[in-house]
Amino acid sequence: MDVFANLATGFGAAVTPANLLFCLVGCLLGTLIGVLPGIGPIATIAMLLPITFGLDPLSSLIMLAGIYYGAQYGGSTTAILVNLPGETSSVITCIDGYQMARRGRAGAALTIAALGSFFAGCVGTVVIAAFAPMLAGFAEKFRSPEYFSLMLFGLVAAVVLANGSVLKAVAMVILGLLFGLVGTDTQAGVTRFTFGVSELYDGIDFVPLAMGLFGFAEMMGNLEKKLEDRSSTQKIDSLWPTREEAKLAVPAVLRGTAIGAFLGILPGGGAVMSSFASYTLEKKISKSRAMFGKGAVEGVAGPESANNAGAQTSFIPLLTLGIPSTPVMAIMVGAMMIQGIAPGTALLTEKPILFWGMIASMWIGNLMLVIINLPLIGLWVALLKVPYRLLFPCILILCCVGAYAISSSTFLVMMMAGMSVLGYTFNKLGCECAPFLLGFVLGPLMEENLRRSMVLSFGSPTIFVERPISLVLLLLSLLLLLMIVLPSFRKTREDAFQE
């Protein structure tokens, strides 16, 4: 079959000693930073991005994929061991994972999470390999109006999935779009909102923006809080689940994988929605519903597999359409741009080795996580006990060097300081930064496609509803928006974020 021939090409490119090493280093670093409490995958990737600058494109993407999965894995580890979700998608894992740990089953919970994630990762890889070329073929039919509508759909999804006030999320998206427009308007050749600063002519640099908004804003928040009691870290006795636990876990993993793989493909779906949907399903069909919230095995196995499958398949819209559907994917675009790779339909046809190599590396990354992390779990637990006062200066320095290294410019370092103030303010005011980031990345793309669409239609906005694909996408966006208005969905959404 074609899929396997393609995957073989990918493995051929990805499995070189050097690339395996980069993948290993990426996984280790990603887990290392991801395990640190209060640092999610977005901040982790942004922070480690500069390390990949010097590598060739494939190696750097391989390392980044490793970092991404490592960060995800690290997030679930802290969720299970200390009840601290490292990221939104492991919020669900906290519920039953931590309870399992309190019953002395921490090792089993971690193993189930790791193996479930690995299985989901394998399936996700095959799904990408099978569907990405198909979707890419479909995407060739896309013209500017379709792209515009698709991006709109992604933004609407980001708003719906954001925590808290919908109005504020919409405002954050718009503000993000505006920030994205800073720089030279290539079509008119005019610089906008640059204050005459030459560093801004190419737009606001992504890395210092993300590190400021996420990394430093989180850091300031963490330092304000009373330091959490780490003594609650649970002991780990045996890593292996019992026979009964395994029996419960396996079907949950299968269901979770299916849900995640499907939801991840939808723009705006991704890991968060997948894990929540899986948890709801497991709770509904379980025979012992009372166990949920008290350490149900399925409550760990399902969502953990789902979020990994979702994390994997959310690469599909990025790789085929060039549209990041989640903030993490937005960072990936940033990373690819830095390497001179434009994600999108052309990637598959013009750089097949890179495309398939990256997909193969995702699988390798998942495998490596299982191999290295289960034996290393003791190390990560020890790391959890390192006091924050020793960690944050290191993180701060890492970010500063990273921001400076992008173009040896102190302006970027200063901008990062500004962004951290902004991010801190947003957090205080209950405004989520994730929709902002997505708007920021999509801003220039949306403007370009809007312009082209208007040229195509001689200024008539009906072009968006006259073209069938575009119409479907707009209707879907509308549907999503209507869902928020529905009281039942609204309640579920609030519950999801409260848990």
């Binding site: 006030s165 909102f193 304000e224 320095i397 290294a405 040896s408 300081a417 005011l429 312009r451 208007m454």
Partner: protein, 150 residues
């Protein structure tokens, strides 16, 4: 006397209004163009008005509807972290990587109330050494490990 019922929403609204107004002001000279041929000012202007409108709605809701208050902040973490970043920007091209990292590390450590002098100095020295190894030796970044050019 007006009482703000949801300070978070009220101030967020105000912030959005400011950003919207700022964008409108800065973008006042960008050509708007027509719908068919959009100028560089088209989207910024439209978005800025949207933001302004949303800001007003959010702000008014903050006055009218009950909502969460703003968690009180602390100055210490903010000041020392910002000072650390800014110092890094000021020093890196003047004294080189190692001294910069050493100084920034010590300053940043004071963002935590648990800071200990000895610990901060030792940690910063270690990180300075480590960053030379990692960034200059291993990753080949073009940064001087140390220098003096005031």
């Amino acid at each position: 006397m007006l009482r703000v019922k949801s300070p978070q929403d009220f101030w967020a609204g105000l912030l959005f209004i400011c950003f919207g107004a700022l964008a409108l002001f800065l973008g006042r000279n960008y050509a708007f163009g027509t719908v068919t041929r959009m100028g560089p000012g088209f989207l910024p202007t439209v978005l800025a008005w949207f933001l302004l409108g949303l800001g007003i709605i959010i702000g008014l809701r903050g006055i009218a509807l009950d909502g969460p208050s703003i968690a009180p902040g602390k100055w210490r973490p903010q000041i020392f972290i910002l000072l650390g970043i800014v110092l890094f920007g000021l020093l890196i091209e003047r004294v080189g990587l190692a001294p910069t990292v050493f100084i920034v590390g010590i300053v940043a450590a004071f963002a935590s109330v648990e800071v200990k002098w000895k610990e901060a100095v030792l940690l910063s020295a270690a990180v300075a050494l480590f960053s030379i190894l990692l960034f200059i030796k291993l990753l080949g970044q073009s940064m001087a490990p140390w220098m003096w050019s005031p």
